[in-house]
Amino acid sequence: MTSKSLVSISDIDKEEMLHLLELSRYFEENPNSKILDGRVVATLFFEPSTRTRLSFETAVNRLGGRVIGFSDANSTSTSKGETLKDTIKMVSNYVDLIVMRHHLEGAARYATEVTSKPIINAGDGANQHPSQTMLDLYSIYKTQGTLENLTITMVGDLKYGRTVHSLLMAMRYFNPTFNFIACDELQMPAEYKKFCIDNGIRFNESTDFSADVINSSDIIYMTRVQRERFTDIMEYERVKDLYRLHNSMLDNSKPTLKILHPLPRVNEIDQDVDDNPKAYYFQQAGNGLFARQAIITRALGIDPLAK
């Protein structure tokens, strides 16, 4: 394989994951360089995602590369009925790397099969979003100094939350303990609990976002509980405030605790948490730049740490 595509976080092993984290650290210390001088990267966003696209494009620009692409498939031949295969093959003629987001699940995996140019998956429907997972891992690694033996509490929508599923799978190398806190409708799916059991990962499941859980956590990973996930609106009204984090709930938490959230946040983290040094979600989003610089250079076979 000459191509260093990244479609799913499960494509990379522990060693590569750790190397990407070291690269992320390097880029945080050296965000601007010319190592992509002369390279052209396509950002093909068949589905709009401003935050992710800007983060990838900033990553390329800060490394001295050039960007082409689109942010909305309506302005492309896709709206004329062109297949994904044809679009990818056409763009492959022009660029060194393709970063793509698509509403259809499996689109990025398929793209790797129709081109020899590396593909970075910037989200394919509800399926995979590995750069989000890398920035989550980097945020944990940076704030805790390690990924090993941590207690990670996941709160909110654990049923549909793509980010928590990918993070759970990526953490399998690092002996974590998980707390899954969600209402009955949004519990962690059985297949991920089975994944934990198969990989010897300890987990506790509860509907109660209790002081004990908070005070034993190294990381609290909050997610948004969306109204449209509920068949019963009364049930949503009943549970929506049970999984809200307020600053006072953090009084007896570990001094090293960090609160993560993939953003956008609505009201699951109260505004009064923002000024607490344990709130880390905005820096977490900022780490996305360094994690994506690491993923891009890996995809192009450039390793500034190898020198």
Partner: protein, 153 residues
């Protein structure tokens, strides 16, 4: 005697393939998987027959036809118990259990409407991730389905 003779007239096969021990519920899926609807050979299909091993079973007999192993093994997806007999001169020349391949290409439809395979002109691809019961996972969107519930293209 007469009725026995009649039964033999249907059952006896000079040469060809007999696929036995197909669970009754999977029989017509197996017919589809083999693509025998359009064969011009003599085809006999029996269903809801008594079986000591699996309860009710189905059986398919196809005269003068030998299938490639890869085609026969497709049946393992929906009927892991199936047994394939190759007949020559009224005798069983070869008898074997179907074997599930690790990867299944172009046969099963992914039941996730948002899967790329349902939206692009391309082959589907599944990996076998469980054997008892048979569970397959879409190579592209990662959705899983039990073999017995798989939709055949």
């Amino acid at each position: 005697m007469t009725s026995n003779k009649k039964e033999l007239a249907v059952a006896a096969l000079k040469a060809g393939t007999v696929i036995d021990r197909i669970p009754s519920t999977a029989l017509f899926k197996a017919v589809k998987l083999l693509g025998i609807e359009n064969l011009d050979r003599n085809v006999t299909i029996g269903n809801n027959l008594e079986s000591r091993k699996i309860g009710k079973k189905g059986i398919i007999k196809i005269a003068d036809t030998v299938f490639p192993e890869t085609v026969l093994n497709r049946i393992a997806l929906i009927a892991p118990t199936a047994v394939v007999n190759t007949i020559e001169n009224f005798e069983v020349k070869d008898k074997r259990q179907v074997e599930l391949p690790e990867t299944i290409v172009g046969i099963v439809k992914c039941d996730n409407p948002k899967c790329i395979t349902n939206n692009e002109p391309m082959d589907t691809k599944f990996h076998v991730v469980g054997h008892d019961p048979v569970v397959i996972r879409c190579h592209y969107c990662n959705h899983t389905v039990e073999g017995k519930d798989a939709k055949i293209l």
